[in-house]
């Protein structure tokens, strides 16, 4: 036990050559609750009253979405794993659960340290200036005010929102969707991470920004123990990941070397 803890932080195997797990997902089920999803007759006041009178158990206005159904895998230190699958297959939900942002309904997820989810949909305040959003975002990631003061100009520079005039002091709701996404990505990429989960982040911005963000992700990957990458761009997955997991309707369809998995996935998508 003791020798395991004493190993150097960047080693990917123990002294006896065993690989070190960083994320263990054990038969995990994830269920979303969605309110107000019903439409038509079920949404009328009369229907609601009838439900109360007849003591119907399931509320039609509350729907459960079984997004991930019994997924298991182990990720090791030094691995970059691509998550692929068609829209709505549960990839993003699974990442949120690994990040500890959504509780597993059944099963368990074990992680080393605190994984960070690097997404582009971190909701910030549209009424506030870009600068203020940078400060808030960094504080929410747990930085100290001194650290924030230091990295804030770098983040604004990296996002490139000031390339066409002083946009950083304008309210964020006045930004184009591309600019918003760029700023959000730049904020979440400003921190070092143990286990890094990247959700479609590479798809944001124009070609120039994409190149810059790909480079940044490679840097982050060099620091992080394990990287998960969700993307619909098979090219990106092939470039960055040696192992891939293919999710379809919340179930793992395939888990193995990227070449094999992406090939099977492409064949499957072509057949549909």
């Amino acid at each position: 036990m003791a020798d395991l803890n004493a190993m150097p932080a960047d080693a990917t195997t123990t002294a006896v050559g065993e690989r070190i797990p960083t994320v263990i997902v054990d038969d995990v089920h994830l269920i979303y609750r969605v309110y107000g999803a019903s439409s038509g007759a079920a949404a009328s006041p009369v229907a609601a009253l009838k439900r109360i009178v007849t003591r119907e158990k399931s509320r039609p206005t509350l729907r459960e979405v079984h997004a991930v159904k019994g997924v298991s895998f182990t990720a090791y230190r030094g691995e970059a794993i691509g998550l692929i699958g068609s829209n709505g297959s549960g990839k993003s939900t699974l990442l949120r659960a690994v990040a500890g942002l959504m509780p597993a309904t059944r099963g368990a997820i074990y992680t080393q340290g605190q994984p960070s989810l690097l997404g582009v949909n971190a909701a910030l305040l549209g009424d506030l200036s870009g600068e203020r959003n940078v400060t808030l975002g960094c504080l929410a990631m747990g930085m100290t005010p001194e650290q924030v003061r230091k990295v804030a100009p770098e983040i604004i520079d990296f996002s490139g929102i000031n390339e066409r005039g002083d946009f950083a002091s304008l309210p964020m709701r006045t930004y184009s969707s591309g600019m918003q996404a760029r700023l959000r990505f730049s904020i979440s990429a400003a921190k070092k991470h143990d286990v890094l989960l990247i959700d479609e982040a590479l798809a944001t911005g124009d070609t120039r920004f994409r190149r810059r963000s790909e480079q940044r992700i490679r840097q982050l990957r060099a620091d992080a123990g394990t990287v998960f990458l969700v993307s619909h761009s098979i090219g990106t997955i092939r470039d960055t990941c040696e192992r891939s997991i293919w999710l379809e309707s919340g179930v793992i369809r395939m888990d193995g070397p990227t070449d094999e998995v992406t090939k099977a996935y492409e064949d499957y998508m072509a057949r549909r």
């Binding site: 797990p21 309110y35 298991s72 597993a104 989810l117 997404g119 009424d127 808030l136 504080l139 929410a140």
Partner: protein, 298 residues
């Protein structure tokens, strides 16, 4: 079939045993109460920055901007004065009705806004909760702090109103500070409790405005609750007397006004105010902490 695809060096071990062997922890597990308090303390800068941002953002679309921080409580007081002071003339029994009304209204508004914001603290920030990792209690705390800042502005307005209506400046005014502190602790607890309840019971958001209006009529904001004693049975009158908001409002009135009528003696009011603050403050915090794991699910 999918499960066997992973090459496992430690075959023979279950995944849970493997996790334990390498010291992996359960993702999103609830921290201990002490650890949670420490985490929250580490996020104090986020809480204050968020509250400050909310105050700035709340009037950013209005032409008069931050002036509304002062105009909102003033307009509110004017409307209620018109109806209850002039049209219905309830002011008869109370000396200096304007000051009486404004104190009640501003102090009540503090708790009301916190309660209405608290109920939505989780549901309206699901995007943030699902994207970033931070102690969720930061949100109800930030909401309370936002409203606290509005209260401070309102108190400045209040002091002006109280002076204009002819109350003398006394040392007793300093009692406003502990009263604010106690009410804030009470409100934090309330916001935390309502945040957790509101995240599970989505109907609560619709019910809250009615609850708050009933609470207002029972808190002696617009008239003296001494009228109640004439019609109510003793147990109900006692209940009204124990109403935490009535207690906080009376403490503020006691501090700022010379001849404010009190329902109980001042020491008893202070005792009750402290008991309520501790009870709701600590109770609400523990209640919220126990649900920490669940807030991302919606």
């Amino acid at each position: 079939m999918a499960n066997t695809a992973v090459a496992d060096a430690d075959s023979g071990l279950t995944r849970a045993q493997l996790a334990a062997r390498y010291g992996l922890s359960v993702a999103g597990a609830r921290p201990t109460l002490a650890a949670y308090v420490r985490q929250l303390w580490a996020y104090r800068h986020f809480i204050s920055a968020y509250a400050h941002a909310k105050v700035t953002a709340s009037f950013s679309q209005a032409r008069l901007g931050q002036l509304w921080q002062v105009l909102t409580p003033l307009t509110n007081a004017a409307v209620y004065f018109l109806i209850f002071g002039v049209i219905l003339n309830t002011s008869g029994e109370v000396e200096n009705f304007i000051a009486y009304l404004c104190v009640g209204l501003f102090v009540f508004t503090f708790t009301q806004s916190v309660a209405l914001g608290g109920v939505q603290a989780i549901t309206s920030h699901l995007g943030l909760i699902r994207a970033l990792h931070f102690p969720r209690a930061a949100l109800p705390f930030a909401i309370t702090l936002t409203q606290f800042r509005h209260l401070v502005t309102a108190i400045v307005v209040l002091v002006a109103i109280v002076l204009v209506t002819g109350e003398p400046i006394t040392l007793e005014w300093l009692l406003v500070l502990p009263a604010m502190l106690l009410q804030t602790v009470f409100n934090v607890g309330l916001a935390l409790a309502l945040a957790r309840a509101g995240s599970k019971m989505t109907d609560l958001k619709q019910v809250m405005p009615f609850v708050m209006r009933t609470w207002m009529y029972g808190s002696g904001v617009l008239y003296s609750v001494q009228n109640f004693a004439k019609h109510l049975p003793t147990w109900a009158a006692t209940l009204v007397e124990l109403n935490p908001l009535l207690i906080y409002i009376e403490l503020f009135r006691h501090a700022l006004m010379e001849n404010a009528p009190l329902t109980s003696a001042a020491p008893r009011l202070w005792l009750l105010a402290t008991v309520w603050a501790l009870l709701v403050g600590i109770g609400g915090f523990v209640y919220f902490w126990r649900g920490e794991k669940e807030y991302g699910r919606g």
